[in-house]
Symmetry: C2
Subunit: 311 residues, 2 copies
Amino acid sequence: MRVVVALGGNALLRRRQEPTAENQRENVRIAAEAMAPIAREHELVISHGNGPQVGLLALQGAAYKPDEAYPLDVLGAQTEGMIGYMIEQELGNLLPPEVPFATILTMIEIDPADPAFNNPTKFIGPLYEEAEANALTAGKRWAFKQDSDKWRRVVPSPLPKRIFEIRPIKWLLERKTIVICAGGGGIPTYYDEKNSLRGVEAVIDKDFASELLARELAADLFIMATDVGAVFKDFGTPHQKGIKRSSPEAIQSIEFPAGSMGPKVQAACHFAQKTGNPAAIGALADLPEILERNAGTTVMSGSKRTVWHEQ
Amino acid sequence: MRVVVALGGNALLRRRQEPTAENQRENVRIAAEAMAPIAREHELVISHGNGPQVGLLALQGAAYKPDEAYPLDVLGAQTEGMIGYMIEQELGNLLPPEVPFATILTMIEIDPADPAFNNPTKFIGPLYEEAEANALTAGKRWAFKQDSDKWRRVVPSPLPKRIFEIRPIKWLLERKTIVICAGGGGIPTYYDEKNSLRGVEAVIDKDFASELLARELAADLFIMATDVGAVFKDFGTPHQKGIKRSSPEAIQSIEFPAGSMGPKVQAACHFAQKTGNPAAIGALADLPEILERNAGTTVMSGSKRTVWHEQ
């Protein structure tokens, strides 16, 4: 079976945890423990988030020479190297030494006419006072949105159209290589008027990028691993109910607050509808159980009725 | 023909040039122009240096929170992502869009008993005043050496023993993928007492790592591209002579000042002796001419006499 696991940002760095090398490595080790049983039995492709890591690199660059801070595409490439390195090393330490690994830098094509460019929504980097935000808007043409009583940079989040390295990823899978790729949603790139590929200051949603990856690899199962055990109806209320199994149509009729499960559910439904194969959302620690469909939320076309987890 | 090109640090960033994203990209574009003719006709593997880039990341980390600065192996992984991204994009822009590319994160095994660990020699990062250097020696157990009237951190430079990702690199070459790997000499790693792979604060010489790569790939030609046109005898004196072709034995009888051509010559000789194939050292801009053996210095076993470039 071919399995694509998307590691959520919160799986690699717990909420409010400092993105030090030690903290990241500790979390990567936990993630590796959860993925190792899958790696032992199946073809495995791993993608991952990079939000806090990019945020830290942006802070470091700003602290040194703000005018020479690297653009977002370059920071994204840095985090693909760094996080891929940690995953490759820690998962490798749990598997026989002969298992081949490859961490592949991943560029993803976006459409420069994507409507997302008219409405930047993805928060990145630190909180600023209003005056600082105004100066950065004037100087660097950054867009800002209010976040509590401070301001925070926002960038567009265009849809992923094409994974440039998809053939090498496939060829390596055919050789039973564990592939780590599409980190941070991939590096967003587009063809300019001279038909040259260029990076762009944007962030592709990691779940959407991973869904495209899983779909193009014809994965038998696409899992989005996060820090929540399942998709819940009425989450946070006394009558919340965890969804064990659902059809895309049934789960899409439920409303989820923006920025929470919405993109994951949307990615799961798209994958299930386009491929006919199941997509799952659940807690990293439950990965083996998710494979058995005993934990998490599995979205499958043709699921006749929604099945709920026991309370 | 299978060609491995090692891009020297000075090929990616000119001496004393600031490592901004713009400067790096401009130099990567020049390197891409030089490599494109090779890529059109041959199998191509590209490795590269990362000295100034790691230096900048170290400065950025220190400027933000010195106590949480990332260790050298993690910074190396970041630069492999960043530089690989730029090379992949810029070289890709000069080739037909169907040419597959892969930038592979590369870990290289070193021996923790390597004598280099008793004598750190590789300068990295910024210059410090003596008092700062003493504080860092006490706090972080960093080693320092004097550099003019300041102090600079030194780390060990152990020999590369094994490239962990060599099989994926081979498999991708068989599919005519242009592979970018072993950046910055690869990330130095070793097996600890629990048989777990760990990164180490060291720098593998980029030319030695690239030679191992070229040798393990059975490259037909191994080129080290730098900013000097050839290996010279008596360089910088009125009677300097550029070597056009030499046997390993003849060129090894010449003495080169430490830190200059020495490691490159040593790497070229080792490759030529172990594989029977030629290794070349020359200027990035001359790459196509180096292939024709009309520029640079080619080291080949069986070269009967040393041939000199015309003055």
